[in-house]
Subunit: 425 residues, 2 copies
Amino acid sequence: MGENRMMSLGALVAARDAGKAAPELMVALSRDAIARKDASIRAFSHVAADPAVSFDGPLAGIAIGVKDIFDSFDQPTSYGSSAYAGHRPLADAAIVDLARRQGATIIGKTATTEFAFFHPAETVNPHNRAHTPGGSSSGSAAAVAAGMIPAAIGTQTGGSVIRPAAFCGVAGYKPSFRLLPATGMKHFAPSLDTVGLFAASVSDVALFASLLTGRDLTLEQVDAAQIRVGLYRCAELGSADPDMQDALSAAADRAADAGFDVGEIEEPATLTEARQAHVIIQDHEAGLACGPDLARFRDQLSPRLVEVIERGQAISPQAYDEARRLAKRGRAAARLLFGEVDILLSPSAPGSAPHGLESTGDPRFNKLWTLMGGPTVNIPGFTSEQGLPLGIQAIARFGRDRQLLSVAAALEPLFANSQQHQGSV
Amino acid sequence: MGENRMMSLGALVAARDAGKAAPELMVALSRDAIARKDASIRAFSHVAADPAVSFDGPLAGIAIGVKDIFDSFDQPTSYGSSAYAGHRPLADAAIVDLARRQGATIIGKTATTEFAFFHPAETVNPHNRAHTPGGSSSGSAAAVAAGMIPAAIGTQTGGSVIRPAAFCGVAGYKPSFRLLPATGMKHFAPSLDTVGLFAASVSDVALFASLLTGRDLTLEQVDAAQIRVGLYRCAELGSADPDMQDALSAAADRAADAGFDVGEIEEPATLTEARQAHVIIQDHEAGLACGPDLARFRDQLSPRLVEVIERGQAISPQAYDEARRLAKRGRAAARLLFGEVDILLSPSAPGSAPHGLESTGDPRFNKLWTLMGGPTVNIPGFTSEQGLPLGIQAIARFGRDRQLLSVAAALEPLFANSQQHQGSV
């Protein structure tokens, strides 16, 4: 795993600000790493030939990868589909423009599953190339995990940030809905499509979010005794792999040992119902948002994508409205729940990255929280018996992003079995 | 005004279903009307050369105009900006695809202000060509008003459906947020951008919404005595033109005479505060969503658009979050308000269409209701001293679209000073 030594955004920024690393050198470091590693990882769908390096802005010298579900005017944008091969949008997506304005270098587009749904990209898991990196933000997670770039941008509609972050052993952050702008992404289900971020560690991803948005998401001091942490008990827990169940128990134990106020939280029935609403909302919206692609490019879409679009178009507006009502009731229940607890802990995925590249894994532990719209973060650190990363998902109330990141950063060193996932320049 | 005799969607659909009008003939009727009238009205930015006519689907034979803020793969899409002149998107917007799937013929793209903001299109008001048609959905409203097409699609971020509908004397319907899909539109402020519809009368626009979406939005029987109608009193009312103030009073009086339970509703302070939040939310989101255009096409944007994008980029995330909190409190207050009243009546605009084409008028009576996310409809019928249309805006609780349309359709004949606005084939 030595070759996968990750790049820490915090270390790079500190080196730059201390005058020890010039922006063009920092970008060159990523260019070199991509040249050496990406032939085997295949995290990038396109690498910029001669990317502009900025010397101004809080992200000057930071080479980032952008999931190829976002438009970029200077690099081809294919949304993971042959239907859009070589497509050149006229303008950037909003998040790409924002990153450039903050000084970041868009070093390449990272591989996505087809339209950010399930048909896999070519990317492999840097921890074991016979395993999936997860999806749909496959390339963003793998590029950070393989130590090619310090930060990347992705999206989550079901579990497409948290799951690949977990499988690749990096920090993934799905912010509160609309904290990051989605304009200029290829939408799948617009009321669920959430822009998210990847970096080597939780503190790195919090720094990335702060520098990108100008929001104060820097880590605050955590008084563990004042933080109520709930191990979230839902029916899906029983279907998690044994080593994931062990990791979750260990996470709760280590948090308690560190002084956090740890308890167990049973899933309210309203949230169980809301979880069922996710697929109806997602598919109905996909039937509308991807209907134009079905009409134009049917033969170039995967059978599974065609099936979901057609299924979505067959869902009645009445069923969709009922699902939205369930989601709304769920959000009210979540607000109540977060009166009792500050942070929930749950698996990021049923286990470590599955063997094979045909499937990107299962979002069953993520969908509810995407629908609820509050922030979640994947905390890396645990490993499976096979030595693959196991991610713990921390969840907070809508708008409590700073508290979530601060607590997750405090938990992260407690979860690390070894130092192998700690990043450095 | 005889030349402006409008096409009624209901009459066309009835004639088709009775076998008295074939779809290709109905589309030819619109093609002919456009050929005769649009040189002087300039409602269309592009007219399809040989548009496909469908013989299946509930909208078969219905020629519709689509605001040129929506992507269409077979017609140029310019978003009202020279920066996108001749742009050919690879796929349709979701609403365009949906309309095609229901059998509609996309007969042309209707003129929009630049990026659906304020810089005007070339369209004139069919009731008096020296006056603005309103905006930003200028062409959609004018094309229906001039009797060129029976129905059109537009968008509203501030007042861009209700205001042009009012100025042009047609029915305009801004549905509950997300009732119609926005994917594939050029976004300005995504949390406000709402897709809306135009037709000759309220019953026509309700029929259009039903046939387009498969929702049951057909008019239901209204028991006037059971419907609480509130004349909405806000500070802006004092700034409305005298003839608009008279029209609003007359609207309330006629509703009371017809047996509706009419009263006055004072604006709650929370809603006054929420109204102030609209511009902060809109501008901040425009700074993000249109940032890529500022970066790429600055010299091709109007000074006013450049100014709003830059102003938006200078609004802090903290100020944006605070504005979102005000909006959220406003939505809670609106829910309470709609416990006391079913339908609110308010001006659709401060008066009739202003003279001149430099300004598209003022959205001060619309912005709050766009932010609240519930349905609104412009009820035509009243006229100013100059003989120009004066629109009354009816407003309902989120999700109560069918009740709103039903009540508005019952009020519409009461508001009509004459029969000049009643459509027929």
